[in-house]
């Protein structure tokens, strides 16, 4: 009989099964089950009830508002994120570590606190409150405040995704481009951007998902005016607190669907460009 050799990294079967079951079980109970329940509740009274709930004017306006906030906040944070990552990865300056810490700030501060900061700055009793009121400029309890709060909370996503990537890639290719006569913008468009496009895309998708789903910070600055300053997450809470479960779960299901679309988009792109991704990692 031939002796059977085991690779040193081969784990016993029972361990593989145990770990696999744990991982899948954990995901199923904590992530998939609640998601499934949201959809079950949304459709509890049939498709028509779901449709009626999401086409109700206040719901529609909350969808519209959420999309508007994301449409403003995400492009701005994309630009800020690229700028921050660029300066951190490609330049040497004092205070760099401090800047990195600042970028992480929104992750470490509770969103409610960041919302309150805006109330302190722009509120009626705040630093600029009186001046703003004199000039009839509405920031708090209006779109600008909600956009600002969302920008604050979602700032790190693009920057955080890009910084390690760009630090790892170094400056060699940009230097080569400069010696070959490329301008700053030309170098960015032809060399830097193609090298970071995947990281940038993930960052934007994550940023977008969070911008649509943000509750805490927006809740503080929104004022919860039904049909005017209620984003989707806020509208879900309002409906739920009013015992309108079908309405609450219908809007929640719609919100979840937007998230699932984002996820599908990411997977599709990964699948479509698998070769290119592998080539980028191999180098």
């Amino acid at each position: 009989m031939r002796a059977t050799f085991k690779r040193p990294t081969d784990d016993p079967v029972w361990l593989k099964v145990l770990l696999g079951t744990l991982a899948f079980g954990f995901i199923a109970i904590l992530l998939l089950l609640p998601l499934a329940l949201v959809f079950k509740e949304a459709f509890a009274h049939g498709l028509l009830a779901f449709w009626a709930a999401i086409t109700e004017p206040d719901s529609l306006s909350s969808v519209w508002l959420s999309l508007t906030v994301a449409a403003i906040a995400v492009p701005l944070n994309t630009v800020f994120g690229i700028a921050a990552a660029w300066s951190i990865a490609k330049f040497d300056f004092t205070g760099k570590t401090f800047l990195v810490t600042l970028i992480d700030l929104p992750f470490s501060v509770s969103p409610v606190v960041s919302g309150l900061i805006y109330v302190l700055v722009f509120g009626a009793q705040g630093w600029f409150g009186r001046d703003l009121m004199d000039h009839n400029i509405h920031i708090l309890f209006a779109l600008p405040g909600m956009v600002l709060a969302t920008i604050f909370v979602t700032f790190p996503f693009v920057a955080r995704e890009l910084i390690p990537l760009m630090v790892d890639q170094g400056r060699d290719e940009e230097e080569a481009a400069a010696t070959l006569g490329a301008s700053g913008l030309g170098t960015f468009l032809r060399v830097t951007l193609p090298n970071i496009k995947w990281g940038l895309l993930y960052g934007i998708l994550l940023c977008n998902a969070r911008a649509l789903g943000e509750f805490g910070a927006v809740s503080v600055v929104s004022g919860h005016i039904r049909g005017v300053t209620n984003t989707m997450p806020l509208h879900v809470e309002l409906l739920y607190n009013n015992y309108d479960y079908v309405g609450a779960f219908s809007v929640a299901a719609l919100l979840a669907m937007l998230g699932l679309i984002t996820l599908t988009l990411k997977s599709l792109l990964e699948w479509r460009y698998a070769d290119e991704l592998a080539a980028a990692h191999r180098h």
């Binding site: 060699d172 481009a177 400069a178 010696t179 006569g181 030309g186």
Partner: protein, 239 residues
């Protein structure tokens, strides 16, 4: 039309990388900057390429105030130790890069660019590899592409930073013979950084031996070898 480097100094923080380096080289010359690591040779090369800025001193080249020009207008081809090829572009696109980024009135036509790319691939002996990506090439092939890319802009000066440092001995020998051939063919003033004295002496017309940011000795390879001027040079050449 010569290259005059006059007491160039550079500090990184409090560390002096260059301490008044000076040399004069004729137009079309092939100069090796030789020295141990930390001697300032790469810093000097990067200053010539416009990738680093001198604290003091001056460089005149082809009657130009070289240090006042930004890297992208110097038209100096730079070859990096780690190749620095654009990894998302094919070999052909890498080589054509310097031509494609020119302003429209100075940009060659597409067919001219293609023709030039083919010529350069023949010159660096990589015919037919134009559609490959850098990740599909060996180290020696990558560095050949990098040389072709630097030559594509018809540079006034060719700067090479330990270009063969990451390659094995056999490939190094092949490449340095090819580099000399390419230099003689293009007639471009070439500055070559290395810590390998055999390489420096084999390939260059003039060798500058650096130590602690200063040029210890400068001259033709045979002279430097026969009459080392300082204890450091003779010691360095003996190892």
């Amino acid at each position: 039309m010569s290259l005059t480097v006059d007491s160039v100094s550079k500090k990184f923080g409090r560390f002096p990388a260059l301490n008044g380096a000076s040399f004069v080289a004729p137009q079309g010359g092939f100069i090796s900057l030789l020295g141990p690591s930390g001697s300032g040779k790469t810093t000097l090369l990067r200053i010539l390429g416009g990738l680093e800025f001198a604290d003091s001193g001056s460089v005149r080249f082809a009657d130009l105030n070289w240090l006042d020009m930004p890297a992208r207008t110097r038209n100096a081809g730079f070859v990096f130790q780690q190749y620095a090829l654009f990894k998302h572009m094919t070999v052909a696109d890498n080589i054509a890069f310097g031509l494609r980024v020119r302003p429209r009135n100075k940009r060659p036509s597409n067919s001219d660019i293609q023709h030039r790319v083919k010529e350069l691939l023949d010159l660096v002996q990589l015919p037919g590899l134009d559609k490959r990506y850098p990740s599909q090439l060996s180290g020696g092939q990558r560095q050949r592409v990098a040389v072709a890319r630097a030559l594509a802009i018809e540079p006034r000066m060719l700067l090479l930073d330990e270009p063969f440092g990451a390659l094995d001995a056999k490939v190094r020998k092949e490449l340095r013979a090819d580099l000399r051939r390419i230099h003689d063919h293009a007639g471009v003033t070439t500055v070559f950084v290395t810590h390998d004295q055999e390489e420096a002496f084999a390939v260059a017309d003039l060798v500058a031996v650096l130590k602690d940011g200063r040029i210890e000795q400068y001259g033709a390879p045979a002279d430097v070898r026969r009459n080392p001027k300082t204890a450091f040079v003779s010691e360095f050449l003996a190892t």
